[in-house]
Amino acid sequence: MNSAVLLFPGINREHDMVLALQRTTGKTPHVVWHTDTNLPAGTDLVVVPGGFSYGDYLRCGAIAARSPIMADVKAKAAKGLKVLGVCNGFQIVTEAGLLPGALVRNADLKFVCKEVRLRIENNQTFFTNKTAQGSIVSCPVAHGEGNYIVDAETLKRIEGEGRVVFRYVEGTNPNGAMNDIAGICNEAGNVIGMMPHPENMIEALHGKQDCVTLFESLLAA
């Protein structure tokens, strides 16, 4: 299980993600700078971490999505490379066209930083296969633009195809996302994006360790 964590100017959650991957996979991920044009040979999983790439200029994730390394990520994702985007990473992979829809300003205009509850809606993915279908995990969110929107037809399709991976438990939607969507995957299932931060709910110091099973899923995938 060789993983790589992408680093763009303004990203600030890469250390948390590196630690989470290190602890669960036993291997230190490569940290790959945005101007690199190739992922390290043998990379099985690319994680795009959270933060504020390029200061959220233009649109969150827009500029990072067009950086040199993303061209290689896109080309390899088309051939099955696993990609996980978390928070700003979700915005980046969506801006890159790897996932449908868009993430826009939270409906109440507030930056939310709190714990939410997520229901596992699809436990057949590379990041949920160790969890029980329909089970609920606690996970923190920290974002100002996590309001997931997509056209009605695509929404119907991703719902019908079981591509909603994580859903905010009813009444806990922090941003107004359509259908309480917190995370989705692409058609092939090898690209997952989610607004919450599972890397921040895996050790005693985090208060809860609900998201350990998510990272353990990577080993079985």
């Binding site: 233009l58 649109r59 827009a62 868009a102 826009v104 409906a107 929107i149």
Partner: protein
């Protein structure tokens, strides 16, 4: 050559910032404001002097970066 690009949210895409502005205008005493939509405006200076070529290039810029066509429309005006 100078270009002006206007990026607006597509119809049906919620605009909470526009809504907040609308409410603020109402509370300031401006009555009859039926809606506010917020957009973006860009000025781009180009070395290109051929108008047709500039238009092609600007369209690509909008499609590839300046607008997210999932949620936004754009309009290009060449000076």
């Amino acid at each position: 050559m100078k270009a002006k690009i206007k990026v607006t949210l597509k119809n049906g895409v919620l605009d909470p910032q526009g809504k907040a502005i609308e409410h603020a205008l109402g509370s300031m005493g401006f009555s009859g404001v039926n809606g506010v939509r917020q957009g973006k405006f860009f000025e781009v200076e180009l070395a290109e002097t051929d108008k047709a070529k500039a238009e092609v290039m600007l369209k690509q810029m909008c499609e590839k970066l300046i607008a997210n066509t999932v949620i936004e429309n754009y309009a290009i005006e060449l000076a």
